[in-house]
């Protein structure tokens, strides 16, 4: 299918370049553009670590990012969404199946198409670390695994209640910044990422990326150590805060991004200045080799298409049709040979017990 797509692209390219002077040159430029990116696939791990109804805003945070990355092209199979509590179908939610990130109810971030991979009690520090390091238990479903490789760009988004050097999970346990750094280091050693973008929206969020030593990590945090991250606004009709400030402005930025737009990570890191956020957004760039101002935002929030460039001719005719028909007729024949289908069901009630 990938080749088919490329062939179509090339065809279109050829048509458009038909009158161009140096088609081969342009083609090479196109090939360069496609192959310039350093990664081959995109993954996102989006975590809401807070339970309880009053933490509605954290679920809205994580769903906002989920909505954005899905819109920009990361498929559900490559998004690991962890939500510690059920807000959409919570008995306290007067709008069942819906979660809004704004009191005006512009966007239902829960939508009609959502796949939560870890939910409720499954959201634990253990499961999170197992997920990152790829040490999931035997028999874990494929959709609950982070199947990344050395070519994966991974976006990790964390939201919840944090403190200096930790993030609370479910209000009952914590992951420390050292544990997080160790898990990421293990990911690097196991070649489980190419580049990693960590985005944290918690109080004292910057403390979570302090201990990182692994390369190719870009991190942004909603507040520095010693600062609180604040929520944006309250919806008085349900009596809870809707969304946190940093994610609100990040979402505002992301909503303007299209899969083909040329916004960069550098611009994204400037989102939510102190006058809007009230807290200071912290950025850590020293582990990251590239200049964020030259990295397209879609390197982390979008998804790269699996492309192979070919300049040769591709034959896309279907397989021999006669083969299918013959196989089918054969099957028909075998079917008609055993046209009787007799089965006998077992007794459905232990009648003999009552005699």
């Amino acid at each position: 299918m990938g080749k088919l797509f490329i062939f179509a692209v090339l065809l279109a390219l050829n048509v458009s370049l038909g009158v161009g002077q140096e088609p081969s040159n342009q083609l090479n430029q196109y090939i360069d553009a496609v192959q310039r990116s350093t990664h081959t696939n995109n993954w996102a791990v989006l975590v809401d670590a807070s339970r309880f109804w009053f933490n509605y805003r954290h679920v809205a945070n994580v769903l906002s990012i989920y909505r954005s990355v899905k819109r920009l092209g990361i498929p559900d199979s490559q998004i690991i969404l962890m939500i510690a509590d059920d807000m959409a179908c919570n008995p306290r939610n007067p709008r069942p199946g819906q979660v809004y990130n704004n009191a005006n109810q512009h966007i239902n971030v829960y939508g009609d198409d959502v796949e939560v991979d870890y939910r409720g009690y499954e959201v634990t520090v253990e499961n999170f670390v197992r997920l990152l390091t790829g040490r999931t238990q035997n028999g874990t479903a494929r959709s609950k695994k982070l199947l990344t490789d050395a070519g994966s760009n991974v976006l990790i988004y964390l939201t919840g209640h944090g403190g200096d050097g930790f993030l609370k999970f479910q209000d009952s346990e914590e992951i420390t910044s050292q544990e997080l750094a160790d898990a990421v280091e293990q990911m690097w050693e196991k070649k489980r990422y190419n580049e990693l973008f960590l985005m944290v929206d918690t109080c004292q969020a910057a403390s979570l990326y302090e201990k990182f030593t692994s390369p190719n990590i870009l991190a942004v945090a909603s507040s520095l150590v010693g600062e609180d991250s604040l929520s944006h606004h309250v919806d008085s009709s349900i009596g809870v805060y809707m969304i946190d400030r940093y994610t609100y402005y990040a979402l505002e930025f992301l909503e303007k991004v299209q899969p083909n737009s040329d916004k960069t990570m550098g611009e994204f890191l400037k989102v939510c200045p102190k006058r809007l956020c009230i807290s200071t957004v912290g950025v850590r760039k020293d582990l990251y080799r590239r200049d964020p101002n030259k990295v397209p935002i879609t390197d982390f929030f979008g998804s790269i298409r699996p492309t192979e460039i070919t300049t040769g001719r591709v034959n896309i005719t279907l397989a021999e049709e006669e083969d299918f028909i013959e196989a089918l007729l054969q099957q028909e024949e075998t079917n008609s040979q055993h046209s009787n289908f007799n089965v006998q069901f077992e007794s459905q009630f232990p009648k003999d017990l009552f005699n």
């Binding site: 009609d112 028999g139 079917n335 006998q344 069901f345 009630f349 232990p350």
Partner: protein
């Protein structure tokens, strides 16, 4: 090998067949009833010559061995509610096991489960809300609150531990497929029922297979959009076309009761030719007063589901809406059904109107409305169904409790009952306290059979299965004592004060009359198979409520712990500081060897009289030097 060649296969085969073959085949189904409980299925297939008829819509494309049906049943209930039941059935006569590699309408993960494990039958339901048997009658498919699953495994030389491992794997797989926490179904909450769940699959009788069943439930499991989305993705037409387009999250989760179900089973004959039946069902009960804009009991498809029906799934062999015509209120229906069906089943006659969506001319958002001519606020009180059950916890305090299950038989005959309990390990019950008591007369009923496997803490649940008879027109109470226990610190969930859930018990009985009974017969697979399906007896399964058990819970809150800790520190510090601040060292003018007892003191006085002691100063010195030792201090 070109990648395009491989990918295009299933669809292209289908299209080519449609164009080139254009043949039609007819099937004649005959169902034979062999005896009361055991049902037989005898399916004869007659094939007409390929040239005799032309079929242009080509639904029976691929060798006619796969069929797909969409059904919707709308049934206004006695107390003003409306029951809607969706069923999507795919039936694939796949022949031998190797063919499972190439799926068409059946989702690939399901075929893979059959390929790589010994699962022959699997049921799962995800339910929110409680089915009210008293006023709603019996559902087409009964389900326990939360998540419930059971599965049959059959294979040669299959051991119990193999089955346990496969059960763990298949629940984990489904946990991924439908985004639910089914991976929590492990050995701590899984039982092996003996009577309640019988195999609905058929394996070839030529092989010597051992059959095993596993059952588990997660009463706490929530059901929301993340379950509905993947559930819809398993359907051949997804949610874009056909009846599934009516299932939109906002209009499913605002209902009083909703239940999503997935089940599949295999039927194999002695030639080792097999059929795979894959059924997805959705059952919702709407309150017309809530869904409508006006506060009356009128309702329509559009009001309930938010939109009209946008035609049918092009892959479906049949797409029919059945509406029950026994209306509790004088509704007028528009448009009128295309035709009516009268079904007589077990002495019960019911009338259904049928809308064949595939035969509709104008397929733009088809709607059916039920309108009351005169506004009516009084609704009929329903006739109670033959068997009802309730369960609750009684007792006070946080030491001992009792579960009481009350089963009521409104039938004119005595009913055989099988009661199945899956009690979690944190609710230790005492089997010697088990009592089955006739509620009215107070006499005890002896069970015909009792299966019990005691639970082990943190390892396995308590399993109890009882078979007994309920006398006619009476109710019995089954009671069982249990203890409230403390858990270990880390075993409490993050919201420990919410309480722990105890799953429903499952009650199975055999009715001789099909009053309120709408379940699909064993040999059938569509809802329409329940029409005129008279049998000698009908297996009825109902579930009780699930329970919340408030175990004694330590206070995990931070302020409480801070206060406790701070108070301890203060108390520990207060003692020494207070004593240091208030203590005074006093020198006692007494002999260090002064006897304590009364007799001793007298003896000493007598001795003093005899001797004139000259060394009082010396004694004083002695006591002063010894006052540095703690023993002689006196605190005032």
């Amino acid at each position: 090998m070109y990648p395009g060649r491989k990918m295009a296969n299933p669809l292209s085969i289908f299209c080519i067949l449609v164009l080139l073959l254009g043949q039609q085949t007819t099937r004649i189904f005959t169902q034979t009833v062999l005896d009361g409980t055991g049902e037989g299925l005898n399916e004869n297939r007659k094939q007409l010559p390929a040239t005799s008829t032309k079929n242009n819509n080509g639904k029976d494309g691929l060798a006619n061995n796969e069929e797909y049906h969409e059904e919707l049943v709308v049934q206004p209930l006695a107390n003003g509610f409306v029951n809607t039941y969706f069923q999507f059935t795919t039936r694939w006569r796949y022949g031998s096991k190797e063919n499972l590699h190439n799926t068409r309408l059946i989702p690939r993960p399901i075929a893979e489960i059959l390929l790589y494990s010994d699962v022959k039958e699997f049921h799962i339901t995800l339910t929110q809300g409680l089915w009210r048997y008293e006023s709603w009658g019996y559902p087409v498919q009964d389900a326990a609150p939360g998540a419930e699953a059971w599965s049959w495994f059959a294979g040669e030389n299959l051991t119990e531990s193999d089955v346990d491992e496969q059960w763990k794997r298949v629940t984990s797989t489904f946990s991924g497929i439908i985004c639910a926490s089914l991976n929590f179904m492990d050995k701590t909450n899984t039982i092996t029922p003996q009577y309640g769940f019988k195999p609905q699959f058929v394996s070839s009788s030529t092989k010597n297979l051992t059959k095993h069943v596993r059952y588990s439930s997660l009463p706490r499991e929530i059901v929301c959009t993340e379950n509905l989305t993947p559930w819809k993705k398993l359907l051949p037409c997804n949610s874009r076309h056909g009846f599934a387009s009516l299932l939109n999250s906002g209009h499913v989760h605002n209902t009083n009761y909703h239940s999503l179900g997935i089940k599949f089973r295999t039927l194999c004959n002695n030639q080792d030719e097999c059929i795979l039946e894959f059924t997805e069902s959705a059952n919702m009960v709407y309150d017309p007063k809530l869904v409508g804009a006006t506060n009356n009991l009128d309702f329509s498809l559009r009001r309930m589901f938010g939109q009209g029906l946008n035609g049918h799934c092009p892959l479906a062999d049949s797409s029919k809406v059945y509406v029950n015509l026994e209306l509790p209120l004088p509704y007028e229906m528009t448009p009128l059904p295309q035709y009516n069906i009268t079904s007589t089943r077990g002495g019960q006659t019911s009338h259904y109107g049928v809308y064949d969506i595939q035969k509709l001319k104008d397929q733009k958002l088809f709607n059916i409305a039920w309108v009351l001519r005169k506004p009516q606020h009084q609704v009929l009180s329903p006739t109670p169904p033959p068997l009802l059950a309730h369960r609750n916890i009684v007792g006070y305090g946080q030491e001992k409790g009792k579960i009481i299950t009350q089963i009521t038989n409104n039938y004119y005959n005595e009913l055989p009952i099988v009661l199945q309990e899956n009690i979690p390990w944190y609710m230790p019950v005492y089997i010697h306290t088990l009592q089955i008591k006739n509620h009215k007369t107070g006499e005890l009923i002896q069970p015909n059979s009792l299966q019990y496997r005691p639970g082990v803490q943190r390892t396995r649940p308590y399993y109890l299965e009882l078979a007994f008879k309920i006398p006619s027109k009476s109710s019995v109470e089954i009671s069982l004592d249990f203890d409230y226990i403390f858990l270990k610190w880390l075993e409490y969930p993050p919201d420990a004060n919410h309480g722990h859930y105890v799953g429903s018990s499952v009650i199975t009985t055999q009715l001789t009359m099909a009053r309120n009974y709408t379940a699909i017969p064993l040999s059938g697979y569509r809802f329409s198979d329940s029409f005129n399906a008279t049998r000698n007896s009908y297996i009825l399964t109902i579930r009780t409520e699930s329970l919340i058990l408030s175990l004694p819970t330590p206070d995990f809150s931070m302020p409480y712990n801070v206060i406790c800790l701070a108070c301890t520190v203060v108390a520990l510090a207060f003692g020494p500081i207070h004593s240091v601040a208030t203590k005074k060292i006093v020198v006692e003018q007494q002999d260090s060897d002064e006897p304590r007892s009364f007799v001793g003191k007298i003896m000493r006085k007598l001795k003093k009289k005899n001797k004139n002691s000259p060394t009082i100063d010396g004694e004083a010195e002695n006591t002063l030097t010894s006052s540095s030792s703690i023993g002689s201090e006196k605190v005032k």
